[in-house]
């Protein structure tokens, strides 16, 4: 053990703080669940591709879970993310279809721009006009869904060649692949969207941990009044948290389009609820101040795994999926409050 020079006392290993504790529980549960699936379901779960598919299918969900985690740590909520995804997907699909020479970069910028616009507007209303975030983002959700339908009532399928090439582009990892029956090696494939999602998780983690903005978001979520007294610009911090959240929703829309290249009014329906559930399962408290995107990532993976397990089991039906999600959420919230209660009661 290294000696602490300043005090001369041995450095004490700190107990996990609330955020770390809840995140650790989530990760353990995910690992246990996945291991159980590998043992009892066998089949697909024994292949690395199964895990990669989990990432591929849930990439957009991972991104909006990060988006939700940011605002929830700050003590807010954003239920417009699903709507923003559907609007982005539709707008980008129509834009790509408008001409075959459309650049993919401008499409990406369009997606980010739509998200940013929603973030700016909602952030302004919530931070500076002090309207309840739930109401503002509920209105945002209706607005985005409505605009999607106005853009096109019918589904728009993307036929843009270069974009479809991008959709097909996959990161191939040979050593994680498996040998098919005919002896050919099939490498594990990771979509670009999944790579983007993983990068978002890392970047948002670093942002929350190592930047002033990130720490201020934790502070305003922990105690807004205190944060104000500590000299933090509460309004600006909250504003930025919604701007980030909105922009990430736009990015999630683009990632969605890369996974399923078609616009549709019911795209990502209720995905905001899945994102909230993922964040909570990942250890983010609805009351704010506690949470972590690594946890939210594993939260999303837990929900994704449940979905896979049910799809592969004889119970293949959507209501089982819903019930399992609900039960999981309930279990986690109970677990969290019990743990936090025990911790915080011990002192008195």
């Amino acid at each position: 053990m290294k000696k602490d020079i300043t005090s001369g006392a041995p450095r004490i290993r700190e107990p996990l703080n609330d955020t770390q504790l809840l995140m650790t529980i989530t990760i353990c549960i995910f690992v246990a669940m996945y291991a159980a699936a590998m043992i009892f379901m066998r089949g697909g779960f024994l292949k690395a591709q199964q895990f990669f598919d989990l990432l591929n299918d849930n990439a957009y969900l991972i991104i909006i879970s990060c988006s939700l985690t940011i605002v929830m740590i700050g003590g807010g909520i954003n239920i417009s993310v699903g709507g923003v995804i559907s609007l982005t997907v539709m707008a980008c699909a129509m834009y790509l279809e408008s001409s075959s020479s459309t650049s993919i970069l401008t499409t990406l910028l369009l997606a980010l721009g739509i998200g940013l616009a929603f973030g700016l507007l909602q952030g302004f209303l919530i931070s500076y006009l002090e309207i309840q975030p739930f109401i503002v983002t509920l209105a945002g959700m209706f607005l985005a869904r409505g605009l999607t339908t106005i853009l096109s009532v019918n589904p728009v399928k993307v036929t843009h060649e270069r974009f479809l090439n991008l959709v097909k582009t996959k990161v191939e990892i040979a050593w994680l692949g498996y040998t098919a029956k005919n002896g050919a090696l099939i490498p594990a494939k990771l979509e670009i969207g999944a790579v983007v999602a993983l990068m978002v998780v890392v970047l948002v983690y670093l942002m929350l941990r190592y930047t002033r903005l990130g720490r201020n978001i934790y502070a305003i979520g922990g105690n807004q009044q205190s944060a104000l007294m500590l000299g933090i610009n509460v309004k600006l911090t909250r504003f930025w948290s919604y701007v980030l959240s909105g922009s990430l929703s736009g990015l999630a829309g683009f990632v969605f389009l890369m996974h399923k290249p078609a616009g549709n009014a019911s795209v990502a329906l209720r995905s905001e609820m899945d994102a909230i559930a993922s964040s909570i399962i990942g250890g983010t408290l609805l009351t704010g101040g506690v949470g972590n995107v690594i946890g939210s990532f594993f939260g999303t993976m837990i929900l994704g795994t449940i979905q896979k397990i049910i799809a592969l089991s004889p119970l293949n039906a959507s209501w089982w999926q819903e019930m399992a999600n609900g039960a999981m959420l309930g279990l986690f919230i109970m677990l969290q409050s019990v743990i936090l209660m025990r911790r915080h009661n011990k002192k008195h």
Partner: protein, 504 residues
């Protein structure tokens, strides 16, 4: 001596709409001294502090601080900080979810990224040098309240700090923790920081302070050296009573003669807000709890009524063991309670006078047995007349009545349930003199009809007039009980101050 002065406030005035909160107040702070700012609630302590920290702008007067030749004007707490004035408030304004080190530096760094190692090292050094038992990486919520308070102080003094304001820092600490805090205050004092210590705990003032400034009703009473101001005199100055003027109060109405039967008895009763205490009241007795504001008198009666979470003790009503853990239990056992804060805990402003009056009775009857409209109307009329409530009709929303009449409505609410024991916490606060007298007379009348009443008031005269027994509290403990001939103003003040009979 002159050189030692680091802060002077001269002729400070502050007017709020309709109220003069501060008029012509002076305050002087010297280097390396602890200066207590004393006064009852509403005396202007907080207003003065808020003027000094830039939360309020002042309407007159000047502030000078060492190192600046001309008077300074402070617009915001941040600006106060830049002059070297830091404040630690009663409510700990730190973020419990962050680490100790973060709480010490967040909101002050201008850098866009956080260097955790450096921040934690700096925090560790400061904590060590001040002897604060906290680790930089510890989550703040895992520290005791006292340590959290000390972390807040460490944050405040880390910047170039000349003046440290501690606003009621000890109100939620236990004795041991208070000692720890005092150790830190003495350490800072030896470093030359001037400390403004706002508190209502008398003994603590005498333990650490060098000087005392007393305010009353927004005016300066005086500045004194601690050695030259005996505790009893301090109390007299805070309350604005002249100790030599012991003129007996004229007696009005007859005091009640308590019966023999003990209606309510508590042993070692305690709640989350109050320390364990014993208490009993007889049939037809009027007793009072007195003490300075914050001495724990309201907390004690709230424990009796089960309004705070009761943590221990035995309660007997008419000799029978009962369990009172919430207000409903108390009501079922014939106890009524008129709360201290009428607006928050008493009236339901948007409901009519009638609905407010029948509220307690309705609760006692239970949801399944509603009081008929006609019956409610009768009850309301009866009490509007009996208590002389001035209201346009029984339909008038209670929020539109005057304070005194609102208070009468709440009284009516309890009288309607015919309690055996009625607790009145500050029933006369903020109401006109005529109504005050009416309420006092009513208390005596109720007692003569064999109701037991606990009466609490900030005005000692009122209590001397109505109570046949007074329980005196200081720093959340019962420190004395006065009855019969002992009930004089001088005795009460002596007991509050600590019993030493030191006259000026």
């Amino acid at each position: 001596m002159q050189d030692d002065i680091i802060l002077t406030m001269r002729g400070i005035c502050k007017v709020f709409p309709g109220v003069k909160a501060l008029s012509n107040v002076d305050f002087t702070l010297r280097r390396g001294k602890i200066h207590a700012l004393m006064g009852e609630n509403g005396a202007g302590k907080s207003t003065l502090i808020k003027v000094l920290t830039g939360v309020y702008s002042m309407d007159g007067g000047e502030i000078r601080i060492e190192g600046h030749d001309s008077p300074i004007i402070i617009h915001s707490p941040q600006e106060a900080q830049s002059y070297g004035i830091s404040t630690v408030y009663q409510e700990i304004s730190l973020c419990p979810n962050l680490t100790v080190a973060e709480n010490m530096y967040i909101g002050r760094d201008s850098a866009h990224t956080v260097n955790w190692k450096q921040r934690e090292k700096k925090a560790g050094e400061l904590l060590d040098s001040l002897g604060i038992p906290a680790r930089p990486r510890q989550q703040l919520a895992s520290c005791s309240l006292a340590v959290q308070q000390m972390v807040a102080i460490a944050r405040a003094v880390d910047t170039e700090c000349k003046v440290l304001i501690l606003d009621e820092p000890t109100s939620s600490l236990d004795d041991k923790e208070v000692e720890m805090l005092f150790g830190l205050m003495r350490e800072l004092k030896s470093r030359g920081v001037g400390i403004v210590f706002v508190t209502h705990f008398l003994e603590q003032v005498y333990e650490v302070s060098d000087q005392i400034t007393v305010l009353r009703n927004g005016e300066l009473v005086g500045e004194y050296d601690v050695e030259k101001l005996p505790q009893v005199e301090l109390v007299a100055k805070m309350m604005g009573k002249d100790l030599n003027d012991l003129a007996e109060l004229e007696q009005f109405g007859k005091k009640s003669v308590p019966g023999d039967e003990v209606i309510y008895e508590a042993q070692e009763l305690s709640s989350t807000e109050s320390k364990p205490f014993d208490f009993r009241i007889r049939k037809g007795e009027v007793n009072g709890f007195t003490g300075l504001l914050g001495s724990g008198r309201s907390e004690s009666v709230r424990a009796i009524f089960g309004a705070d979470h009761v943590t221990g003790g035995k309660v007997k009503i008419r000799g029978k063991d009962v369990k009172i853990s919430n207000p409903h239990d108390a009501m079922k056992n014939g106890v009524g309670y008129l709360p201290e804060d009428r607006k928050r805990d008493g009236i339901i402003a948007d409901l009519s006078v009638r609905d407010n009056i029948i509220l307690a009775l309705q609760v006692l009857n239970g949801m399944g047995r509603p009081i008929s409209r006609q019956k409610a109307e009768e009850f309301a009329d009866e009490y509007i007349e009996a208590l002389n409530i001035k209201t346009a009709s029984t339909e008038t929303p209670v929020g539109s009545l005057s304070g005194g009449n609102q208070q009468k409505v709440i009284l009516a609410r309890w009288l309607l349930t015919h309690p055996d024991y009625l607790i009145l916490d500050e029933p006369t606060r903020g109401i006109d003199v005529g109504t005050k007298l009416e309420i006092q007379k009513l208390v005596l009348k109720l007692a003569s009809e064999n109701m037991s009443v606990t009466f609490i008031s900030s005005e000692i005269e009122e209590m001397l007039r109505t109570c046949s027994r007074l329980i005196v509290m200081r720093d959340r403990n019962i420190v004395g009980e006065l009855k019969g001939e002992e009930l004089t103003q001088a005795n009460v003040m002596n007991t509050i101050a600590g019993g030493e009979r030191q006259n000026a």
